[in-house]
């Protein structure tokens, strides 16, 4: 019988074995990265900024992963899980950076599992109820396009950690947007029924888009220092892409974005965030002394 060797590794000592990429002791997400704050940057501001971008990604990943075992096709199971995984990866790095920047030394899990909903800084759309597949695609189309525009600019951030995270994120987000576009076209220009559902999804999501381009004071300060990006600056670009995609998908040309109005960035969330977080945090909070 062949294949005996596959099992032998399990009982070997492995604490310091690099083959165990996910092994114990591999907990420092930013190990080896120069984490000095750029000159003139307030650590608390940078931390809050990282939490905003990190929470967007974490909450969206949590929502997207609800499609696993529930997608319309196996290819979509793989794609949506993969997108959620990319966003989760971005969230982990950003939250780790937040804990360094504010000097508290909190790690990614402190941020993810030990904050209440009102302490999260994600935009509301990231937590929006899952809805149907058209809704998921529309949300993804909007958020991935928006985040891609932000991250493209963040590659030039004076904070080398943010710049590095953005450089990685841009490739991922370009794929997320491409995926969302491919489905927006199929649904919009597919059957009459799918066209209706896609149009309804756009109508549902559109009112939540204004928030994406509201500038929080932290974002304004980070932008002035060349560390962050003012989201108002990407509105035109994001809008252009959406117009092009939606009209190609034979849907009505969308109007202007609604007036920018802050909500999630101030901790002012819709009712859907608390239960989402409760589910996420449940096991970790039940076993506060545990190690995973």
């Amino acid at each position: 019988m062949s294949g005996d060797n596959i099992f032998t590794g399990l009982v070997e000592e492995h604490d310091s074995d690099t083959r165990w990429a996910f092994g114990t002791g591999f907990t420092e997400a930013l190990a080896g990265v120069d984490t000095t704050l750029p000159e003139g940057v307030d650590g608390e501001d940078l931390a809050r900024y990282c939490q905003m971008l990190g929470d967007d990604a974490l909450v969206q990943a949590q929502r997207l992963s609800q499609w696993v075992t529930d997608a319309p096709e196996l290819e979509e199971e793989v794609a949506l899980a993969n997108i959620a995984l990319d966003l989760l990866g971005q969230a982990r790095l950003l939250l780790a950076r937040a804990g360094q920047a504010d000097g508290t030394g909190r790690d990614e899990d402190d941020f993810a599992y030990r904050r209440e909903a009102a302490q999260f800084r994600n935009v509301r759309l990231a937590a929006a109820p899952r809805g149907d597949f058209a809704r998921a695609i529309t949300t993804l189309l909007v958020l991935s396009g928006w985040r891609l525009s932000l991250m493209s600019r963040l590659r030039e951030s004076r904070d080398p950690v943010l710049a590095a995270i953005a450089a990685k994120a841009v490739n991922e987000l370009a794929y997320h947007r491409e995926y969302a576009v491919s489905w927006a076209l199929r649904l919009g220009d597919g059957t009459e029924y799918s066209h209706e559902r896609m149009a309804a999804a756009v109508a549902d999501v559109w009112p939540s888009t204004g928030e994406l381009f509201a500038t929080h004071p932290v974002e304004a300060r980070m932008s002035r220092l060349g560390v962050g990006v003012d989201p108002a600056a990407v509105a035109a670009e994001v809008h252009d892409v959406l117009v092009q995609v939606l009209t190609t998908a034979t849907l009505d040309e969308p109007g202007a974005f609604p007036e920018p109005a802050e909500a999630g960035r101030r901790g002012d969330h819709g009712p859907e965030l608390a239960p989402l977080l409760e589910e996420m945090q449940q096991v970790a909070r039940e076993h506060p002394e545990a190690s995973w």
Partner: protein, 324 residues
């Protein structure tokens, strides 16, 4: 499709059968375009499809924990793993399609309960320790079953198995590593691990199928090179490999008859409850109805999306033709 060879006059079948037998006997691969006996094709379709279904249904017990994974690292590991399983399902359905059957037809057979999947996935996953134990024992047993299949006689199946086994072995390590970490944690975590081992041990042994004496198809499948080892041989192999891992972990396997046998050089172990096995296989396990129902609901709910994709592809294929 792969039926060209079969349309030849029946008189040629004897020569083709001889050619087929010689290929299998000399460990050459049968490829989709090659002639093959109808029984071989039918058995393979069933086996590969069941395997594919198992990957897809197998996403559920662990997928249930993605939302609540207790650290972001564990969430990433689990999400990646469940995604891999969807990928395995895809390779295997593709391998089955080379035998001339459509994936949509196989999906119908699954959600209508006409085709089976591994019974292990009809047990519930009750705590986060189950994620680790499924990785360690269930993926471990699956690897034990599947590694020999990398040498199976049908080419597309064998090649799919090579990649699947690599990923499965990674999953198994991740599961074991989670359990190691939990055993180093609190008393409550250690109890969770032991409880999960107690629940999953016997169902894992059942994954190898009924005892050889009750497995009527084994002989033919061995001759066809679809099966490489018997159920009992694989089960013994699994036990022999797993006992030292359990010792290292510090858990007790729930079998009072488990003991090293100097003479045979392997472990003696107790008999799984084959009545339970039959109950679960025939649809009366704890989660059978729920698992298939979830797949069915997802499939039905997604019909309009698949229809849209088909309609879009058709429209744009036509417009491309016009453009040309």
């Amino acid at each position: 499709m792969t039926t060209t060879a079969q349309e030849a006059p029946p008189g040629d079948d004897r020569a083709r059968q001889a050619d087929f037998d010689a290929k299998v006997a000399s460990n050459q691969r049968i490829e989709p375009r090659d002639w093959m006996p109808e029984g071989y094709r039918r058995t393979l379709v069933r086996q590969v499809a069941q395997h594919a279904h198992s990957e897809i249904i197998g996403m559920q017990p662990e997928g249930d924990w993605i939302a609540s994974a207790p650290s972001l690292r564990r969430k990433a590991i689990l999400l990646a793993k469940v995604q891999d399983e969807a990928g395995h399902g895809l390779y295997l359905y593709a391998a089955a399609e080379t035998l001339g059957i459509d994936r949509a037809e196989l999906t119908e057979r699954l959600i209508e309960g006409r085709q089976k999947y591994s019974s292990i996935f009809n047990y519930p996953s009750l705590t986060y320790a189950d994620v680790g134990v499924i990785g360690w024992l269930v993926d471990g047993a699956a690897i034990c079953n599947q590694v020999p299949l990398c040498r199976t006689s049908f080419g597309p199946y064998a090649r799919a198995m090579v990649r699947i086994c690599k990923e499965e072995s990674f999953h198994q390590r991740q599961g074991y590593e989670l359990l190691m970490r939990m055993m180093e944690g609190t008393e409550g975590q250690r109890a969770m691990v032991q409880d999960a081992v107690d629940r999953w041990w016997w169902p894992s042994l059942m994954m190898f199928g009924p005892p050889d004496a009750d497995s009527p198809n084994t002989q033919q499948s061995l001759e066809w090179g679809i099966k490489i080892d018997t159920n009992d041989a694989l089960r013994q192999k699994f036990v022999d490999m797993t006992v030292p891992q359990a010792d290292k972990l510090g858990v007790t396997l729930p079998d009072s008859e488990l003991a090293w046998n100097e003479e045979s050089g392997q472990y003696d172990f107790g008999e799984p409850d084959w009545n339970e096995f039959k109950r679960v296989v025939t649809g009366s396990g704890p989660c059978n109805a729920e698992r298939v129902a979830r797949r069915r609901v997802a499939h039905e709910k997604g019909a309009w999306v698949r229809d849209a994709a088909t309609a879009y592809a058709k429209k744009h294929q036509n417009s491309r033709e016009v453009a040309v």
